[in-house]
Symmetry: C2
Subunit: 334 residues, 2 copies
């Protein structure tokens, strides 16, 4: 069996309390005593038991991270950002997948409470009142990440998706596009897409651009192909704004099948700057938002909450940026 704090105390000829103080550096200990304790620790290769520590101190140095699905595009990058910062502040993360299902999400918040996590990082495709109630009940410090809370009830980190879509339309308008389509999941399913669509509609109207909405049943490559083909065949447009990169690539492929040249005949813009954008033909113009930073900022925010550091704003908005590639800008030919 492994050594306990009590063993170390006996070995060093001091009390448990002193050992504890040496370990946690929580009060002054005479240099000589300290050395005796450290020697004893080394000799017994003592490591503190974090569970006992958690019980006694009521802080577990553990953060619950609830995501819809780690394996979804770039979610892993976000999680990596979270983990890195967590680590920096000596936290660990318990990762849970909810598939965006309300029951599961509520369940997980409860279980995380049972595990006595110090805080929660929460991601969900759509935030409802039930979520808020659950959070209320759990009484845990929570930061929302990439999850829109229109009423700003919970601390959150987001980007301004609506503005980003507006920027994209303005960008395309400046290139002379007079007719633009937006492709994404039907309204009401995903907050992200809804916001982007709203920006799209607002900006097309303001710029007097003919707009068209292409609804797809699921925001995946294969799920979108057919709907895109139908839409593009019946009413050709000058540009396509896709709710994410995967859809944008589907749009590229459909356009190419219809013998349209990109970007000469039709321009295509995606969202999220996933790895796909570089690997598509032509490379995809997209709205970049660093997923890593997303997670990192959210986690840093949470650590501030946990250590009562002063907070300037409870709804952090991250910057975005249009990354121009060849799907909207003709390639420079030597």
């Amino acid at each position: 069996m492994s050594a306990t704090i009590y063993d170390v105390a006996r070995e060093a000829g001091v009390s448990m309390a002193t050992v504890s103080r040496v370990m946690n550096d929580t009060a002054v200990v005479k240099e000589e005593t300290k050395k005796r304790v450290l020697d004893a620790i080394a000799k017994l290769s003592y490591r503190p038991n974090a569970v006992a520590r958690g019980l006694a101190s009521k802080r577990t140095k553990t953060i619950g991270v609830i995501v819809p699905d780690v394996s979804a595009a770039f979610m892993a990058e976000l999680v990596r950002g979270i983990e890195d910062i967590a680590n920096m502040y000596h936290y660990h993360i318990i990762l849970c997948n909810s598939d965006g299902q309300l029951d599961r999400e509520r369940d997980l918040v409860g279980t995380m409470w049972e595990k006595q996590v110090d805080g929660l990082l929460f991601m969900s495709p759509k935030l409802r009142q039930e979520h808020i109630d659950t959070f209320e009940e759990a009484q845990l410090p929570i930061v929302l990440c990439r999850t829109d809370d229109p009423e700003k009830r919970i601390p959150s980190v987001n980007i301004n998706n609506k503005q980003a879509a507006i920027d994209v339309v303005d960008y395309l308008a400046a290139k002379g596009c007079k007719s633009i389509a937006f492709v994404g999941a039907k309204a009401g399913l995903k907050s992200l897409t809804d916001e982007r669509r709203a920006g799209f509609l607002q900006a097309t109207e303001r710029n007097a651009i003919t707009s068209q909405l292409i609804d797809v049943p699921s925001e995946t490559y294969s799920g979108a192909l057919k709907f895109l083909k139908d839409a593009l065949q019946t009413s050709p447009v000058r540009a396509i704004v896709a709710a994410n990169d995967e859809l944008a690539i589907a749009a590229e492929h459909v356009a190419q099948d219809l013998k349209l040249r990109i970007p000469e005949d039709v321009m295509i813009v995606g969202f999220d700057n996933t790895k796909l954008t570089e690997m598509s033909r032509p490379p995809l113009t997209t709205v970049a938002q660093s997923m890593y930073d997303y997670g990192a900022v959210a986690m840093r925010f949470l650590t501030k909450l946990l250590s009562d550091e002063p907070i300037s704003t409870y709804t952090v908005v991250l910057p975005h940026q249009i990354l121009e590639r060849e799907s909207t800008a003709p390639k420079f030919v030597k």
Copy 2:
């Protein structure tokens, strides 16, 4: 403050022990008493404290998962597989990124011990003696995943990469290819690639096929483009086997730039069956190994270890399969 088991006991007029037995269903309790307890639990909305439980029972229902980098291609899928199965057996996972660095890995194993995890799932690009020593010291049930231990000292889950590469060459040979190139990182950097290359070399020799090795500095799309171009321009081959899908797509693009038709002029095969394979043009033939299953099987293995279920073999080898797509098979045209 939230209710404790003691509060519930008082409310129901029974002892703590009885409440515990109701919660854990660990012994018979009279129907009537049980009801009183359950009512009290509901009334006080009692939830057991997992930390206290962990201290008392010495089991935390938590698994440590150490990966080089969650955000690396498809690692997230693997983690998802782990999480799903963990969940099924009522475990949670603490996820840590090591970047494949030995010190960090050893550190993490130690911290996971402190956190009193019930077991460890470990992934690393290259296993060394120091790893084994660290595991030994930690005295934790450990399963290696996608991490080769040539001496089979630690329980592990893997696929037979060498055989997979042999299968690919045989497959191409059957299609009449007489000259095949292998593209991947230089020998000695990645165990995975080394194994695949070994299989490739063995099979090309056996089939009397002209083989060529294209070494790239990094196994990424952009990092490989130039080297592929140089290689394909100087010595045209009939087929390319890439160490992973990303490289295979780079190969596709380079071939297309050289006005080669795929698969008529050159066939291309990737490894891993990532999402990219479906989204490339033409869709990529690849060696499929479900990353999700990889994680799922490893986790299931660990649960068996943890509950002393009988184990048939300590080195699980997962099946692989060549998924034929249009990069090696001409499209059927209506």
